[in-house]
Amino acid sequence: MGITKMTATILRQDVIANGIYSMVLSAEEIAACAKAGQFVNLYSRDGSRLLPRPISLCDIDPKAGTIRLVYRIAGKGTEEFSTYHAGDTIDVMGPLGNGFAKKEGSAVLMGGGIGIPPMLELAKELHSMGNVDVKVVLGYRDEVFLDTEFAEYSTVYYASEDGKHGVHGNVMDAIREYGITGDTIYACGPMPMLKAMKEYAVTNDIEAQLSFEERMACGIGACLACVCQSADVDEHSHVKNKRVCKDGPVFDAREVELS
């Protein structure tokens, strides 16, 4: 499971919602060993932006040797990436992080906003295991994206803050509204959502795997910029900190403290 830094060719790039882009890269070495929940670092061509941008993997196709990244324009770096076209190249390093630990039994996948993309690869991988009942709950602020692609692998439920798609509110509101439950919860989204998920999982004694987002520099566990608080003293750091980029980004809800 090696990390590869490479110059990848962009096979296609599409706008899939307002400010949300889908980029497919030819990156054979990364596609060959990546799994759901892992991420890659993308590097800006403009040297004034020297830090990489960590982006989660939305689809991995080892046969075709491609990876798909769905990202939101959040600043100058992602804005630069959004101007790239098919045929352009981009420096990429990955796969990074631990990814989800896929369990048998029924699965509830929760994606909020730009936390939705990694859930698509996870739904695909769980579906391909054959014996997993997969439910997906997608929460949007307003405009929906990737929604139709989930149908192939799972039963899909929606929530939106403007009330135009599914339940009026967030993914927790959808969980309550539809009475959705399962053996394992997998979640990625904003911190308030992850906090609510942790509470829900602990109260109902359900295993929950939460995928975190944090500002990163190196992406490989060396610089200690992107830590989160752990419940117990971590065996690498020897303090109550875990590295989101290396020990995560996916953590068992019980091993982390959310503030």
């Binding site: 020297l50 500002r215 060396a222 200690l224």
Partner: protein, 300 residues
């Protein structure tokens, strides 16, 4: 062609190391680059006990640089000695351990402990801007710097390198104080205290409010300070601050540095330290420089 340099009696095969805090203890980067290619590896700061560091966000990108306020999170000397030193000993490179503390006693405890360990040099961090006690307090007052340098020197088996802060009015005063107190070499510069405000969220970009600015944005300041210090002291200098390529390294050497550290550039390109070694050699071939030491301080 000779690229070997000697710092305080320790000869490195080439003049390139990594800046403390950007490279961990090398284990993560060893999966991506060959540590044998480096003159030395400088560890992240290590204290007498584990430190949890600062709250997040700990970093923010700025134009041509970044601000960090990690706060010297480290596992403490016991874990470091048991896990990280044996790891680094597998490689054919010199080992520099960066030492941090909150009091003189803390520093002395770590330095004494390292006396029993197979490490080559000790870099003493008296200049981290992100920890309130110790750190910067020692690095901004010549008297305090002199006191801690003497105490560390008396306790150390290895040669010591005091790492200087740029956040002072006259860095040569600090350099002279460290030299007079027995420091065998100097590292400069540490990060420059900075601040970034997120105007959309109306809050500080890093939780600590202030942080240390590093990266290409600070290089001209660092080159100037290395030049000034090289003219103020006789002990060797490890120059750092925004080095991303071989020509940057040569610039520091021409300003008077004996060796250089590559830091923030590694976040953009894991190969950067190793590439800088190669690019220094390219430069030497291009200008037919036989010995890297001939370039040191060549601009007067």
């Amino acid at each position: 062609m000779n690229t070997a340099v000697t710092i305080a009696g320790v000869t490195w095969k080439n003049p390139v190391t990594v800046a403390s805090g950007t490279f961990g203890s090398g284990a993560e980067y060893a999966e991506l680059v060959d540590l044998n290619a480096l003159g030395a590896v400088t560890s992240k700061g290590v204290a007498n006990v584990p430190w949890a560091g600062n709250p997040t966000p700990r970093i923010a990108e700025t134009y041509g640089g970044m601000i960090n306020a990690v706060g010297l999170q480290n596992p403490g000397i016991d874990v470091f000695a048991k896990r990280d030193i044996p790891f680094l000993k597998q490689y054919d490179t010199k080992i520099i351990v960066n030492v941090c503390g909150r009091s003189i006693e803390d520093y002395v405890e770590v330095v004494e402990r390292l006396g029993e360990e197979p490490v080559d040099l000790l870099e003493i961090n008296v200049s981290c801007p992100n920890v309130k006690e110790g750190g910067i307090a020692f690095g901004q007052d010549p008297k305090a710097l002199s006191e801690i340098t003497k105490a560390v020197k008396a306790a150390a088996k290895q040669s010591i390198i005091m790492k200087l802060s740029p956040n002072v009015t006259d860095i040569t005063e600090m350099a002279k104080a460290a030299e007079a107190a027995g420091s065998d070499a100097l590292s400069l510069i540490n990060t420059i205290t900075g601040m970034k405000i997120d105007v959309h969220r109306r809050r500080f970009a890093v939780a600590n409010k202030t942080g240390g600015l590093s990266g290409p944005a600070i290089k001209p300041v660092a080159v100037r300070m290395v030049y000034q210090v090289a003219h103020a002291v006789k002990i060797p200098i490890i120059g750092m601050g925004g080095i991303t390529c071989g020509e940057d390294a040569i610039e520091f050497i021409m300003a008077g540095a004996t060796a250089v550290s590559v830091g923030t550039a590694t976040f953009r390109d894991a190969e950067a330290p190793v590439r800088v070694v190669k690019e220094i050699e390219d430069y030497m071939r291009r200008y037919q420089v036989e010995d890297i030491n001939d370039l040191r301080g060549c601009v007067e």
